[in-house]
């Protein structure tokens, strides 16, 4: 999974590596915005610092000319809910007068198993849309990870994209820096969109995306520290899941789902849908979960108000049925009345031992995955009758 840096963090990383960026300051209240704007000089952009795309369209970016406009923008953006994320901070940034908007990016092409550098003259818009509607507008250059990006590859991508000769060398240089950062910082994506071209033929990074491979954070201590800041925001339950160390995704429905292993949990979600229910979440307890972890999982799903019933589906390989049963008992025995019906299906390693331990007064037991899901969906429907 990727850890997403905020724009201001990514810009700092890029600027430290020598990529030209506009002058900017971070602010978290109206006074801070006004002070920053004063120092930078109008016009400035006020930009919400949340890690979602399409901030501009959602009202999270405003271009302002004076104190009055800056105050208005600050009041509307700071504290707003932007696509489910609370905006706590804004970046106040020098507005750049541009003649052109380019796109440069590095990502991992999983199909090829190789990094790929991308350049396009169609920057400033959603690049995924460009990729879909006009794929030839993006020049791509695959990179051998053993050698890194050769200078000629950066030049080739820039020429292939049709970037104007007057800035080609500078764009190639930014692309080279971007690849070096992507490689040395364990990036999953590094992107500048738009890379603005000014009337004086200078290039400047008006936005910055840097996503880091979470599996590599152990060797990126400086970025791991940034994660602390970057993690703020997001759904409350998803944050709780983070603390527990669960793979968790909150969804719209009312059938709670707990299981082990990504593929099997996804399958359980699909079966809930197949039997006419709506999944409330994806929750993977992972391999080898002990009783306490199982109890935490149940606690998580119970604390989602949308959930009306819960299916617990464990197929043990390294996870043991007896530990699962202990955890379920622990979680449920603390209630005088079970808040939401729980259906349990245990299979695989030590499932018989698990069934002996499991307090069947507290749960409904089913033998197969299909039956367990069908029963849970029926319970959820009963609640809503």
């Amino acid at each position: 999974m990727a850890m997403k840096l905020h724009e201001y963090q990514a810009k700092q990383v890029f600027a430290d590596a020598g990529v030209p960026t506009p002058s900017s300051q971070l602010a978290s209240d109206v006074d801070g915005v006004l002070t920053a704007a004063e120092e930078i000089g109008y016009p400035v952009a006020v930009k919400a610092q949340v890690q979602v795309g399409g901030r501009g369209k959602a009202g999270g970016i405003e271009l302002v000319e004076n104190d009055e406009e800056a105050r208005e923008a600050a009041e509307s953006i700071i504290g707003m809910d932007l696509k489910g994320y609370h905006v706590g901070q804004v970046l106040v940034e020098e507005a750049v007068d541009f003649t052109d908007e380019l796109y440069v990016g590095i990502t991992m092409d999983r199909g090829e198993g190789k990094p790929v550098a991308m350049v396009s003259t169609k920057g400033g818009v959603n690049i995924e849309e460009v990729a879909e509607e006009d794929p030839d507008a993006i020049a791509r250059e695959h990179i051998d990870p053993a050698f890194g990006m050769h200078p000629f590859q950066a030049r080739k991508a820039v020429y292939d994209a049709g970037v104007d000769k007057s800035v080609a060398n500078d764009v190639a240089s930014v692309l080279t820096t971007l690849y070096d950062l992507w490689e040395s910082r364990d990036g999953s994506d590094a992107e500048i969109n738009p890379l603005m071209v000014t009337a004086d033929d200078e290039v400047i990074a008006a936005d910055a995306v840097m996503n880091i491979d979470e599996d590599a954070l152990f060797r990126q201590p400086e970025l791991a520290e940034m994660e602390e800041e970057a993690a703020s925001g997001g759904d409350e339950l998803e944050q709780k899941a983070d603390e527990y160390g669960f793979d968790y995704v909150r969804l719209e429905g009312n059938v709670g789902i707990i299981g082990n292993g990504a593929g099997l949990v996804m399958t359980t979600l699909d079966l809930v849908d197949y039997y006419g229910g709506e999944p409330a979440n994806f929750l993977d307890v992972g391999g080898g979960a002990k009783a306490a972890r199982i109890a935490n999982a149940l606690d998580m799903v119970f604390s989602d108000d949308n959930v009306d019933s819960v299916v617990f589906n464990i197929f043990g390989g390294i996870t043991r049925g007896d530990e699962v049963a202990k955890g379920i008992n622990e979680a449920l025995e603390q209630f005088d009345e079970i808040p939401k019906p729980v259906v349990v299906r245990l299979a695989g390693t030590n499932w018989e031992e698990g069934m002996e331990i499991l307090n069947e007064d507290l749960v409904t037991v089913e033998q197969t995955l299909e039956d367990a899901v069908e029963r849970t969906v029926a319970y959820a429907e009963e609640v809503n009758e």
């Binding site: 999983r110 879909e132 599996d215 949990v265 391999g287």
Partner: protein, 290 residues
């Protein structure tokens, strides 16, 4: 017959002195796997799980004629462990480790194109030829000997589908968990080719999931090159775009690639029926081998 692993396979376990490595080395041996050595830097001369430990994989190959490695090395060192395996003239390396940095795997991927050693994984449960041997962490007792080859990106989903088969008396030639990471060694196409060329495999189950385009590539390969009947399953039909479903590789991108729908359509177009439930997959297989 079977593919990749049988009771002649001679296994070296990298990371055998760690908790997981030792436990699963013993489990593999209990199942009948011929574990001949361990390899752990600095632990040469010791013994673990009843077999000699060497400092390097090279020594394990020289001294014990190991031809296959199973890797239980922590993620920070696993990329290096795979490179060592690929440098040791083995037939097969199986990487169980979850959470290897993607850039390490990109470098491994490059090396794979220059060597004859096959890699399965990483982030996978391993593989098993029922009644003969297993490499990895799969629970042996749910598998049974038979004629169905199985390849899957997910561990526990493999167990679920195998359970559906075994409960009907349908056994397996070999089951291969290829792993849920974005960059893996053996992919669907490789596994399908192995099963197609195996005389005993009469039907194939392929369990895919959202993310990437491996299933679409597999469908194209089946259309051209596979005569053995294949039944499919795709997990993640209800996954919303942009949300990663556990596996690093299981994500539908914002632009709509990697969806279950695209994979199911591709498989159907190649003549592969895709079950709505694991039971339905077993139904299809039962028809194929009846």
């Amino acid at each position: 017959m079977s593919v990749l692993v049988d009771d002649d396979t001679r296994v070296v376990v990298q990371g055998i002195t760690g908790g997981e490595g030792k436990f699963h080395a013993e489990q593999m041996m209990e199942y009948g796997t011929n574990v001949v050595a361990g390899a752990v830097p600095g632990k040469g001369g010791q013994e673990a799980a009843g077999v000699p430990v060497y400092d390097t994989v090279h020594e394990a190959v020289e001294e014990e004629n190991a031809d296959t490695s199973v890797i239980f090395v922590p993620p920070a060192f696993a990329g290096d462990a795979i490179f060592e395996a690929l440098d040791s003239d083995l037939d097969l390396a199986v990487a169980i480790t979850e959470g290897i940095p993607t850039q390490d795997m990109a470098k491994v991927n490059k090396r794979l194109s220059e060597t004859d050693t096959r890699l399965v994984g990483p982030n996978c449960p391993g593989l098993i030829t029922p009644g003969e041997a297993k490499l990895g962490i799969l629970p042996g007792n749910i598998f049974s000997e038979g004629k169905v080859g199985l390849v899957s990106r997910s561990g526990t989903l493999t167990y679920q589908v195998v359970d559906n088969l075994t409960n009907r008396g349908i056994g397996q030639t070999t089951a291969i968990g290829i792993g849920g990471d974005p960059i893996i060694g053996t992919d669907f196409v490789d596994a399908l080719e192995l099963f197609e060329n195996d005389d005993e495999t009469e039907a194939i189950v392929m369990c895919g999931e959202i993310g990437g385009e491996d299933e679409e590539e597999a469908a194209a390969f089946i259309d051209e090159h596979v005569d053995t009947p294949v039944a499919g399953f795709i997990a993640g039909r209800t996954a919303p775009p942009g949300k990663r479903m556990g596996h690093a590789g299981a994500i539908v991108s914002g632009s709509g690639t990697g969806t279950a729908e695209s994979k199911i359509n591709a498989l159907n177009d190649a003549g592969v029926p895709v079950g709505d439930t694991p039971e339905e997959v077993a139904d299809h297989i039962e028809e194929f081998i009846a």
